[in-house]
């Protein structure tokens, strides 16, 4: 769940492109910890907002191995966790399914059908369930890790900045320092210059 910073300015836009331009401009002017609320996914906005550079949070996430080259995922390491977890779960599920069949048919309760091989000798017959159990565990992991990472839970009382943020409005959130009025004014000027049709002060 994208949590709103305690003190921030929220600029509302009617157009995804305006939001992108505003975000890029805010970033280039040095504003940090930006966030945005959009009714649909906008490709590339994570990079523009600089989410990849964030290492703050309760549990600092170590860098992901094997992705430290440009173009594949250097920028968005933090947001590549779900595929990695899913791959791990796929392997564990498949291995577990295979071992279950091997053990039950080879050791716990061998069934002799016409003298055909038992245990590991009958491995081709185990492939289907191996595959299915791998997919099942990977799918469940993907589903639950989504909620673990986003900290979403069945919450009917969630507060939204504007009901139209899930409809046709876009919001750019710039955290501000209440002590530093210049910073706040700069942020407000930026939002207005970039075409925000409403600016909301949250504090």
């Amino acid at each position: 769940m994208g949590t709103l910073p305690k003190h921030s300015l929220v600029g509302f836009f009617n157009d995804p492109d305006e939001l992108m331009h505003a975000a890029a401009q805010a970033r280039s002017e040095g504003f940090q910890h930006l966030d945005a609320y959009t009714p649909f996914p906008i490709h590339g906005i994570e990079e523009v907002l600089g989410l990849d550079e964030e290492r703050s949070g309760r549990f600092p996430i170590p860098p992901v191995p094997f992705t430290k080259f440009k173009g594949v995922g250097f920028h968005l390491q933090r947001y590549r966790r779900i595929p990695q977890l899913a791959l791990t779960a796929l392997c564990i599920g498949a291995l577990g399914g295979f071992v279950l069949q091997w053990w039950t048919h080879g050791y716990d309760w061998p069934i002799n059908v016409g003298g055909r091989p038992e245990g590991i000798g009958a491995w081709p017959a185990y492939i289907v369930i191996t595959f299915e159990s791998g997919i099942l565990l990977a799918g469940l992991t993907t589903f639950f890790s989504l909620f673990a990472f986003t900290k979403l839970f069945p919450n009917p009382f969630v507060k939204t900045l504007d009901p139209d943020l899930t409809n046709d409005r876009f919001a750019l959130v710039i955290p501000v320092d209440p002590e530093n009025e210049d910073y706040e004014t700069e942020a407000a000027k930026l939002l207005q210059r970039m075409g925000a049709d409403e600016i909301l002060k949250v504090d």
Binding site: D17, Y37, P39, V128, L152, T160, L161, T166
Partner: protein, 512 residues
């Protein structure tokens, strides 16, 4: 609100990724390249509809009393479900003997229904997962309803093996768990593979469907007119706010599900076909079965998609979102898969009659062509191979009435395809002394009717309470909203002092 002073450098920063909505410089054109159909002629949604229009039109059926047509359809579906429930209750009490199954034909209408319903499900996953991976953007208008169709169809399918085991209350013995009977299931049996394949399929499809729906349920929560609806959709939407951080994880999870569902959907009907291909009955024991079944499944599934969407888009007034172009593309898939199954039928016949030299196989296919049940074979040939050929003509592909009727024929034809494969093969196996004629009873028909009742009941309820279109996804393929046109809104707040220093109308809106 059009005072936008953009620095020239800004555009460069924004367009580094070179994809999506930001790929064209501002003010270039009204349509993003994502808004084109595959042939690049028309936008997927008419440019005159804004994001707000899409939201309003999709959510309207959820917040208004449904039209008369919905009530009639729901009443009919409930009646069929009630009949099915009564029939199933009698069947569970009396046992399988009241069905048409006899000594050689141990797998009768129940298994036919099972494979029919599993097959229906495949189109939904094809649309939601495989077309997603191929970046077919036209899928966005129909993927939600097709996925719903998948889940309901697989639920119907799952009923039949559970009933067909006879002692339904012991069906849980199919689950491998350490038990007091000290027995394990036979993991080497294709019937058990089926248990795993179908349960995995229904689980993954349901999770994929629900996950894809969360942002749209959040839209429904924010627009719901009553407090009860707000509360219910609030729980279902998992507190979704649309933060970019959430979208980043969500997008990856969605793509992940597509990658998992794609091999899964191809495997499920392959595994179903192993039930037959792995056994030794003439007419079943062929290597062509897995791809043949998968093609047939997609064919029948798209038939059902047309059967559902043509009335649905009319009843829910979604003609401008599920356009005739979408139905046209579905009909093209039907045409393709019709030829694939036609090829399978013909090659199966050719191999059996002229190539393999297996006498029992040959006798089986002569029986299919000219035996007592030959009408079922020719009905299948007519509905699945000959009739869909009319979709070569563009006018017919785009004619609602004709495509609806043809889709009904496809449903019938695909049901009889399974009837042919399963029942005709069992009627004439090896020993002539064993041969018998299969005659379904009213209980067979009643259960089949009941499964249709269940399917349509669930689908109609879905139309009533959940967003039938993937709203958020559809907005990504929408035309770019006109930047210089002021948006119609009942309030306009210009909150901050303008550049020249004095306040521009209103004060800052304070939120605490």
């Amino acid at each position: 609100m059009s005072i936008i002073e953009r620095e020239p450098t800004t555009t460069e920063v924004v367009t580094t990724r070179g994809e999506g909505l930001t790929s064209h410089p501002p003010g270039e054109g009204q349509h993003g390249h994502g808004g084109m159909t595959p042939d690049g002629t028309a936008p997927l949604v008419d440019p005159k509809y804004s994001m707000n229009d899409i939201t309003r039109d999709v959510l309207k059926p959820m917040f208004t009393w449904p039209p008369l047509g919905w009530h009639i359809a729901f009443g009919a579906a409930q009646t069929a479900l009630l009949i099915g429930a009564i029939v199933v209750a009698i069947q569970i009490k009396q046992g399988l003997g009241i069905l048409g199954i006899n000594n050689p034909v141990g797998w009768g209408v129940y298994i036919t229904d099972f494979v029919f319903w599993v097959g229906i499900g495949h189109a939904g996953t094809l649309i939601s997962a495989i077309l997603f991976l191929f970046r077919q953007k036209w899928r966005t208008a129909i993927n939600r309803s097709a996925e719903a169709m998948t889940i309901f169809a697989v639920q119907c399918a799952g009923l039949f093996p559970l009933l067909h085991v006879g002692r339904t209350w012991k069906a849980f013995w199919l689950i491998p768990y350490p038990n007091e009977r000290l027995l394990w299931v036979n993991f080497r049996s294709p019937l058990l593979w089926d248990v795993f394949a179908v349960t995995t399929y229904v689980t993954i499809s349901a999770l994929f469907w629900y996950m894809g729906m969360i942002p749209d349920i959040a839209t429904a929560r924010d627009k719901a007119p009553s407090k009860i609806q707000k509360f219910a959709y609030g729980i279902l939407s998992m507190g979704w706010t649309g933060s970019v951080r959430d979208w980043a994880h969500y997008e990856r999870a969605y793509a992940q599900f597509a990658w998992l569902a794609t091999p899964l959907v191809l495997s499920v009907h392959s595994v179903v076909s192993f039930d037959f291909a792995v056994s030794m009955i003439p007419g079943w024991h062929t290597t062509i079965f897995p791809p043949y079944f998968v093609a047939g499944a997609i064919f029948s599934g798209f038939g059902m998609v047309i059967t559902l969407l043509v009335p649905m888009r009319r009843l829910l007034r979604l003609e401008h979102i599920i356009t005739i172009n979408h139905l046209d593309l579905c009909n093209k898939v039907i045409l393709l898969t019709s030829m694939l199954v036609g090829y399978a039928y013909i090659s199966e016949l050719f191999v059996a009659l002229f190539y393999a030299g297996a006498p029992y196989e040959e006798a089986q296919f002569v029986y299919r062509l000219m035996g007592e049940h030959a009408w079922a074979f020719w009905l299948m040939m007519f509905c699945n191979v000959m009739l869909p050929q009319v979709f070569w003509f563009k006018k017919i592909r785009r004619h609602l009435g004709i495509m609806f009727v043809i889709s009904l024929f496809i449903n019938v034809g695909m049901w009889f395809e399974r009837f042919n494969i399963f029942i005709l093969s069992l009627e004439h196996d090896y020993l002539p002394a064993n041969w018998a004629y299969f005659r379904p009873t009213l209980f067979d028909f009643g259960t089949t009717l009941g499964s249709f009742g269940l399917f349509f009941t669930l689908f109609l309820l879905f139309c009533r309470v959940l967003p039938t279109i993937a709203i958020a996804e559809l907005k990504t393929v929408l035309h770019k909203p006109a930047g210089d046109k002021p948006r119609e809104r009942d309030f306009q707040v210009l909150a901050w002092p303008a550049k020249n220093g004095h306040a521009n109308g209103h004060a800052t809106k304070e939120a605490h």
